[in-house]
Subunit: 173 residues, 2 copies
Amino acid sequence: MDTSESGAITLLPPFSDRDRWTAEGWCPMERTLELIGTRSAMVLLREVFYGAGRFDDIVRRAGVTPAIAAKRLRQLVDGDLLERKPYRDPGQRTRNEYVLTDRGRQLFPIVVALMHFGDHLPREHEATIALSHANCGAELVPEVRCAAGHEVPLRQSAASIVRPTENPARGRR
Amino acid sequence: MDTSESGAITLLPPFSDRDRWTAEGWCPMERTLELIGTRSAMVLLREVFYGAGRFDDIVRRAGVTPAIAAKRLRQLVDGDLLERKPYRDPGQRTRNEYVLTDRGRQLFPIVVALMHFGDHLPREHEATIALSHANCGAELVPEVRCAAGHEVPLRQSAASIVRPTENPARGRR
DNA sequence: CTGTATCCCAGCGGATACTG
DNA sequence: CAGTATCCGCTGGGATACAG
């Protein structure tokens, strides 16, 4: 079962170029990138993950211009990653704030994985931001497991094409 | 310890705009995006993760033009995510192939997280590609845990600024 | 406070053609 | 086979100014 020597996802069956998984949205990664594949989308989402809700806060903390922030936030709302939620402080007028939708919260592993990778990049003495488990203080780590709970290293991972009527992963569930 | 109502990373201490973590490479996420923040970088890496090594294969399968492929691959090599490894089939002349470096392999959780998210996006009857554990067939799932092994949901995660001489996570290791 | 509207430029990325 | 070179449109994203 050790597929090749060291570092690649096994293709099941070894699919060829004929499969053209590049074409219109085949690749799940590209579908994701269509939603969050810009720098501005990610930094705006980052601020919402950090608890910013009001437009002004998000914009200032994300460090982007209001123009692209507005445009990108609209796309994120359209993509059902964020929603604008009416909200009122007692005695204040009603405001809208941007909050993560259920789908947006599913980006959490992506956010953690991106931050973790950057955190462990060599850096020349600059400050950084580390994520930790609030309950125990230990560093957050993105892991790849299977639904059965096994930790899965790169060499034990397999990719299979799933057509609408077929089953994933060699037919086994 | 349940930080706020539902969906945000707790900031420890609640850092303000004064901290300007936006500035030059503070945010680890942005450092990562500097390396892999383009669509072409990701689709090229995807093909290398899928085992493609030769320039031609990568280009054709990734569906990008040779021009930008060459440019991006050079950047990925410069960023120490890929390396060009001389290689020879018996009886053939020596070739170069692109392979993941140790650092490149660390992108695995990011790749899985991006694919997993895209895989669970609503799609209209198109085919997709699913990742699974070669050993047991179960679907791959990106998880967020802490170094102590606890599974960490969004609401239990905390972010803290780490300056060169300080310790992460409220000083606890 | 929450955005819009313009202007502008750099870079991404496709197409096509060409070299060692 | 492994790239380069050139042309070019599109968009991302900064700056500045304005509007409800």
